[in-house]
């Protein structure tokens, strides 16, 4: 991909190494994703999928490498990046209702000290309508089924009106009907030119869902169109392979970097 003939990629990750973070680490991850793709991040447990998302969003300190979205550093394009968290990270007892959660998606667009206004509420309602959760707008989030909770967070991501989305296992704990609804929505977003980055663990549905894959196992195994990358050899490489050494070295490195950090504090 030459820089002159094509528009800048939606996401470019260059030689990204994350070792400061707790397990798992990532080594030298390097790829580009063209805009308008539905991208699946695939790999075994503990392969660093969530770490990759968090690092790409600039939420973890990097040992080396950099991340750019739309040809610019991520910090400058924050309002073009949306996020759907993993379900376990949420305190479901928190005193907020569905509408409050979706409105949080608008906060990035609001200025300092500003409150969400009528227009924001309209957008939030529209997003809820899209995931067919509008009738539940007044419900507290603990009083929803798993699939409904997931749809609420999807609506929040929609309300962010971003061009690049990171979603951490949006299909976890979701019934089949909701999964179909979610994937339809993701496809629609893609057709509008948005890029979606989805952590996924169900290999069976991969070829149906995604048009681009990032195969990950502590290092990048492959990144490319599903038709090219979703092959038995690549999968064998992702799910098997010489990992013990990498994990051991990562362990040694982390102990060392922990020491290094002590000093810099």
């Amino acid at each position: 991909m030459s820089e002159t003939s094509q528009p800048s990629p939606a996401l470019e990750v260059h030689d990204l190494t994350v070792a400061y973070h707790k397990k798992p680490v990532l080594w030298g991850v390097d790829f580009e994703i063209p805009a308008g793709k539905l991208v699946g991040i695939i790999g075994p447990n503990g392969a660093g999928k969530s770490t990759l998302i968090k690092a790409a969003m600039g939420l973890l300190p990097l040992s080396s490498g950099w991340v750019e979205a739309f040809g610019r550093p991520l910090k400058e394009v924050r309002d073009r990046v949306g996020y759907v968290p993993q379900r376990e990270e949420i305190d479901w007892d928190f005193p907020v209702n569905v509408m409050d959660v979706v409105l949080m998606g608008r906060y990035g667009k609001l200025g300092w000290l500003k409150r969400p206004g009528k227009a924001d509420r309209e957008i939030a309602r529209a997003c809820l309508e899209k995931v067919r959760m509008l009738p539940f707008a007044d419900r507290q989030i603990a009083n929803l089924s798993g699939g409904q909770q997931q749809r609420v967070f999807l609506a929040r991501a929609l309300a962010q009106e971003s061009d690049l989305y990171f979603m951490d296992e949006p299909f976890a704990g979701v019934d089949a009907a909701t999964e179909d609804a979610i994937i339809a929505l993701l496809r629609e977003l893609c057709s509008q030119g948005k890029t979606l980055f989805v952590v996924h663990h169900d290999l069976a549905s991969v070829p149906d869902y995604f048009d681009w894959l990032v195969l990950l196992n502590l290092r990048l195994v492959a990144s490319g169109p599903t038709s090219e990358v979703f092959t038995p050899e690549m999968l064998a490489k992702t799910y098997g392979g010489q990992l013990t050494v990498m994990t051991e070295v990562a362990e040694v490195l982390r102990r060392n970097e922990a020491l290094a950090r002590e000093e810099s504090h």
């Binding site: 968090k54 969003m57 600039g58 939420l59 910090k75 924050r78 990046v81 996020y83 968290p85 990270e89 949420i90 305190d91 928190f94 005193p95 907020v96 209702n97 409050d100 959660v101 949080m104 906060y107 990035g108 609001l110 000290l113 409150r115 969400p116 507290q140 002590e262 504090h265």
Partner: protein, 326 residues
Amino acid sequence: MSEIIPPFHWHLFLTEPWSAWYLDTTLRVIAMAFCVSASCGLVGVYLILRRLALVGDAISHSVLPGIVLAALVAHTLTGPAIIIGAIVAGFVTTVLIESIDHHSRVKTDAAIGIVFSALFALGVVMVTMFAGDLHIDADCVLFGNLAEVATQPGMPPALIQAGSVLLATILLIGFFFKDLLVSAFDPTLARSLGIRARWIHYGLMAWLSVTVVSAFEAVGSIIVVAMLIIPGATALLLTDRLWKALVLTVIHAAASTVIGYHVGLWLDSNLPAAMVVAGLGLFVIAWLFSPSQGLLPRAIGRQRLRDRLEREKVEARETTEKAESR
């Protein structure tokens, strides 16, 4: 028991305090207690949501050495010097807890326990050693001097201070409502939106110190903990919305202040303690009767469900028996 619980006179304890003769005293004490209780309660809601309730406990104790030091330097017990001393002490507490947490295997709760008791012990030693130079004594530390506002002529400075703290608390929550909400609910989203979650955290801790120190003088360091946690906890049992919880917190503060005031008069006891007991009573009522989460409504709901299942089982048996008998 009759020796310690005085007879209750409706007139003496409920009506008399609001008569023209006592009205000024009543209003002053209630206003002071309400301002303290409400501002603590409002900050407390965020502590509860961020699971920092016990950091509130810690800071309410560990501001003591800061206050004593500031008092020794500035030779006064009111005004900005004390507030600054408290903020510094609160900040030191937060940083010490975090660094023990970070640089050793000791977990957060133990770190909290270590830091606050060490700083409080330091404060007590300083109070004892420099008692001559200070107009601070142990009763102020433990019990506060709430009743003092009643005896001061004119507008007591303590009341002005507590009122300003309450006003500022409300304004700050209004201004930073969305930042506080997101950084408590989903810190990852907060950071991806560019909200400085750490600044919010330290800001909250600094404001906690301010609230605590202005409450400290009125109700003492331990009662402060109750005033931080109980109103917010009660409110969170009653509602699913943050703003409603904040409003209910203020209502709880007002109700426990007024009830506690009358109970305190009746029993002739320490007023802040009576207010805390009233607040605890309100918490227990909410715990039992909250429509959505209360013990009783849920027990009734379970019983109804059990009855219905039982009925259905009986009906089913009857139908099968009928079918078989045919």
